[in-house]
Amino acid sequence: MKLITAIIQPHKLEDVLQELDKNEIHLRTVSDVIGCGRQKGRTEVYRGRKETGGCLKKVRLEIAVNEDFVQPTIKAIMAAAKTGNIGDGKIFITDLVECIRIRTGEKGQEAIG
């Protein structure tokens, strides 16, 4: 089992979720985060004062999947979130030792999804 964490552009979220649904990947958690990498921040102007270089608003997606879903998940995210511009985001993949469904207490492979 893997935990996939993707940091993407907020305005691409709808597309990514749709793409994931198409690939039958339903379990996901979304949160607002701020962050930046090579993209150095959108400029906003407040009373003539330019605000740049601050962290940008991003969306963090967490998706827990079984091994055979790792590649489809990555593909789905890439397909929807990629624009080719700087700031498209990152995908991190980590091992998941265990997964438990709280309602039933099921563990492991069955509990995911």
Partner: protein
Amino acid sequence: MINSGDTAWILMSTALVMLMTAPGLAFFYGGLVRRKNVLATMMQSFFVLCLISIQWILWGYSLSFGPDKGHFIGSLAWIGLKGVTMAPNPDYSSTIPHLLFMVYQMMFAVITPGLITGAFAERMKFSAYAIFTIFWATLVYDPVCHWVWGAGGWLRNLGALDFAGGTVVHVSSGMSALVCALYLGKRRGYGREPMPPHNLPLTILGASLLWFGWFGFNAGSALGSNELAVWAFIATNTAAAAAGLTWMFIEWKATGKPTILGGATGAVAGLVAVTPAAGFVSPLSAILIGIAVAFVCYTAVAVVKLKLAYDDSLDAFGVHGIGGTLGALLTGLLAQKLINPAGNNGLFFGNPKQFGIQAIGVVATIAYSVTVTFILLKIIDAIVGMRVPDEEEVIGLDITQHEESAYTLLD
């Protein structure tokens, strides 16, 4: 003779001007600061409403409007409202109760120190703020108010025109704000870290309520429900609209996009500039005032401030100080006796002397406010300290000064 229509209008105007301080100014400023300082910023407006409401009754009104002492200040004869009754005082207004005039003027005394808070937002110690405000109101506002509006005041005798407080309210507070910004120094990280407004809808709410309340501020200053009030009402709305539009178009040209913060700032600048002129100028002159103030204040806020790198955090100086000064000077150009026979003609209507008088009023007010504010800051700094410690500034004033926070994160 008390006139019920006039009294109704001034009662309502008093409530409108009260609304300008809280929530108007409180939200206008509150939305512009960072999330961790919103309550502290609103508190400054709210506190000043409570504090000056009491100060004004106890001694403020007497110092400002009481029997004259050497053309400089009122005596203490009216202290605790002694002798201030329901009978109209013909020196100030002959158709409304004297007490109503007193409470109407109270709301002006309340909002003026409130305006300054924009200069030291996000870093002033609350105890120092409370002390500063009460002394500033007593030593700066009350005398200047007496000069311009009090019977016997030297600027009033000179013939300075200030319909609703361009010099008394905006120049005095705006110039003091600059002194505060310079004396306190910048916010930690200013210019290095981004400090975007945390909630612009709150700011727009505040700006809208300011616009609404300003009808009481300016049209109420006619102190009657009459033709003069109508002139002032129209000039107020027109200048605000013209300045809002102009500011947005300047931005559109200068930085690429018109912003709502720009529109709101422009509108407030327009309201400030038309304040001294409201009861003396025609609607078309009001358009001119609006356009002029947008250009000048935009330059002050978006060019001069950034170049000189002082941290007038919420532009109390850039909008009120500059806008008020410009408005007081433009009154000397555009005033018309045709509009208000009690006024005078300005330079463009054949009376160049008026412009000189306006300039004297502005210069005297600036020199006096700047000096006294500086001395006050020095003394208070020595006794209690003006700024919060670095660590408290980073944590935010809501928690460190008031032990509460504005928003919860979870349900």
